[in-house]
Amino acid sequence: MARYVVSRVLQAIIVVWIVTTLVFVLVRLTPGDAAQVLAGPSAPQEEIDALRKELGLDQSLGSQYVDYMSRVVRGDFRDSLRFHESAMGLMLDRFPNTLKLAGIALVISVGLGGLIGVGSAIHPGGLVDRGGKFFAILGQSMPTFWIGLLGILIFAVKLGWLPAAGPGDWKHYILPSATLGWFSMAAMVRLTRSAMLDVLESDSVKFLRIKGLREREIIFKHALRNASIPILTLAGLQFVAFLSGSVIIETIFGWPGSGRLMVESVTARDYTVVQAGTFFISIVLVLVNLVIDLTYGFIDPRIRFG
């Protein structure tokens, strides 16, 4: 078991390394280097060259890479080329905003989606099943930016119930995370329904019914617990998707999150932030995946040795 954990951890490190290297190369290859963008369009060539030298961009790609890797292992991600603040610091400042959004979206997706899924499993073909399924699939069928804009239009402008955009008190979280969550709800509904159906028709549950347990107790205490493994796995995957895919929501809602920071940094060729951000996000993603896999491996021995 210990060997399994160690090997998975090692593999996780390799994954992080692959991702960061790939992004490093990709961003450096993008035309228009940081010196040009930072110096501004009016800057003459000498100024751009001087800035380039200062940023260490005049070195070959190889030596830049070596320099980068040697800093990474020391935890030094240097300063944002745009803002002259610690790149990792910027990331760590913004990431919690995305995290909160992802967390609430997950609650919506798992909570509401799971509830619909359970409801559908209990009464297949019933109102909750058909209505809920339609609702969930509808959410998955519209591009998120459209959902977001419609949400702002309806709930903020027309009804005035919620603020339109930006960070703030709890009300400001609702629209962005609901948009994010609604989009992913369908998969959760499907999975919960399927898992619950499997469990509800299993022998163990039949036995519980024979024993005379109330249906409600069977559902919530026993069936749900057994069905929770794949549900949690999916929840983990969705969470991971939220963290890296929140750019559009953050753009629409003016949310100061890490997704927006990353994309803006690529556009502005702010290499240090892109590198710090990619490193950080990939570690988080790999960690979450690792935890999921370890839990899975723990539960199901076949996969461990497979």
Partner: protein, 555 residues
Amino acid sequence: MNDQREGNYWTRKRVGRRTILKGSAAGAVGAAALAAVGCGDDDTTKSSPTAAATAAAGSPTTAATTAATTAPVVPAGKLVIDTSVGGGTLQAFNPLLWTSGGQTPFRDAVADPMVGIDKKGDGFGYYQALAQTFERPPDGLQVTFNLRPDAKFGDGTPVTSEDIKFTLDFVTTDPARHARKSEWKRVYKATETPDKQTAVVKLNEPYPLLISFNFMFPVISKAAFDKLGFDGFDGNPTAAGPFKFVSGAKGDHANLTAVEGHYRKTPFIKDLVIKATPEEATRLAQIETGETDICYMSPTNKDLVKGFGGRVATTANDTSFWLVFMDPYIGKTDSPTNDPRVREAMSKAINRKDITAKLLAGGANPAGSIGNPSIAGHNNLAPDPYDLTEAKKILDAAGHGNFQIDFSVIAPVAEYVNVVVADWKKIGIDATVKPLESGAWLAMVNAKKTPGLYIEPTGANYVDPAQWGLFVLSDGSFSYQKDATLDTKMRSIISGTDDKARAATWGEVQKKIYDDRIYSALWTTSTHFAVGKRVKQWDPVPGIGYIIRLEQAKV
């Protein structure tokens, strides 16, 4: 040439400055809370640097020193302004690290220059800010600024000539970035400080922009900078503007607060929040709900804003759009656009009238010459008529009846690009639209390697023809022409001392560009702002895209 009213053109409406990288209409920067720096309080007699130049010791107006004669203003309330266009506007909190027009609202809110620009009548004029008077000898090789004795920084310390010297030196140093840095390095010699209130700026050659565009050099506090260092000061600046910096997150938002008892103009607003939301639909929704008070908008949404009770404010004709033919410049000798007749045909196939009236919702005017109408010396030449048959004839006569050419545009692609491309297709030109994201576009421009066409939007924030050097000089960053006569003329504008002559020369430059069809002017646009219901009083300065004088706003 519509110039020389009242003997000087500085009082005329100005044109806007180009937005760096953000393409047109980025002007959404909207006026941040205009500090209530009263226009009326300021001395507008000083509005003509030309008048100053002609006199040996032209101390423009010793117009009324500002000191408000009415009861002192007590700032109250909060104003939220959205300067949109992503992080470009709040990139640095040090107002002197000014590289893009979009940063202007923040800069002007927290920092004062020596000579400022504000609304005057239906145009703009100059007023004394930190400098009570200035003098310039006829050879233009130095400018003497006389500081106001009551000028103070936001932290209460007095502004002295040492700070002016520090400011002007700083722009030439290396970690500093500034839109005019290279030009300033070439022109600037040194500043002498004979006493605390006097700064003598010595130049290597005459530089009219130092006065006409002085607000690009807001004065920062040397003491604060020495204490905090480059990065520290960038996170917590101290300058002499009507507002002072409280807190913020770069690229996201800044919180400012009014400087009570400001030497020049205490704002009416107490709290000012500058933020940036990239999505226009969201911005306008926030104006409607009241979460934002002022923001930039595109003209197509005029009816929407008026519909929900908001107000649309515009600055007139501040940005000029023109078509650039890059092949002749990069030496692609086999390109059809090397032939001026081809360029003429292409220009005549552009439906300026309908595009400006319909697609740009009337927020634009067709133009014949590049440059903005309010700049002194503007040569108002007639735009090409839209005539497809004529265009086709010319094209065929030139022997290039059918060809393909690349057309680079910054994503997202503007609507009029579709119309222009379709019209060109009708006369046999297959223009392939190549959208680029802004970083890649910048690389292309700097490298001057990409062939084909692109449309340049610029001018919001330009007050002086000298600023167009970037686009006209052979070695200008955005120039696509190599013409020695134009170079000579342009240099005489940049370093001239006779404003009348400079204005006349600018008209000649425009005519040559027009006659030789070096660039094809398309139209001039205006910057539009959406103003929410809370704002009782505020207007942007006409003719400039970013001067929004937040100290003037009232809620």
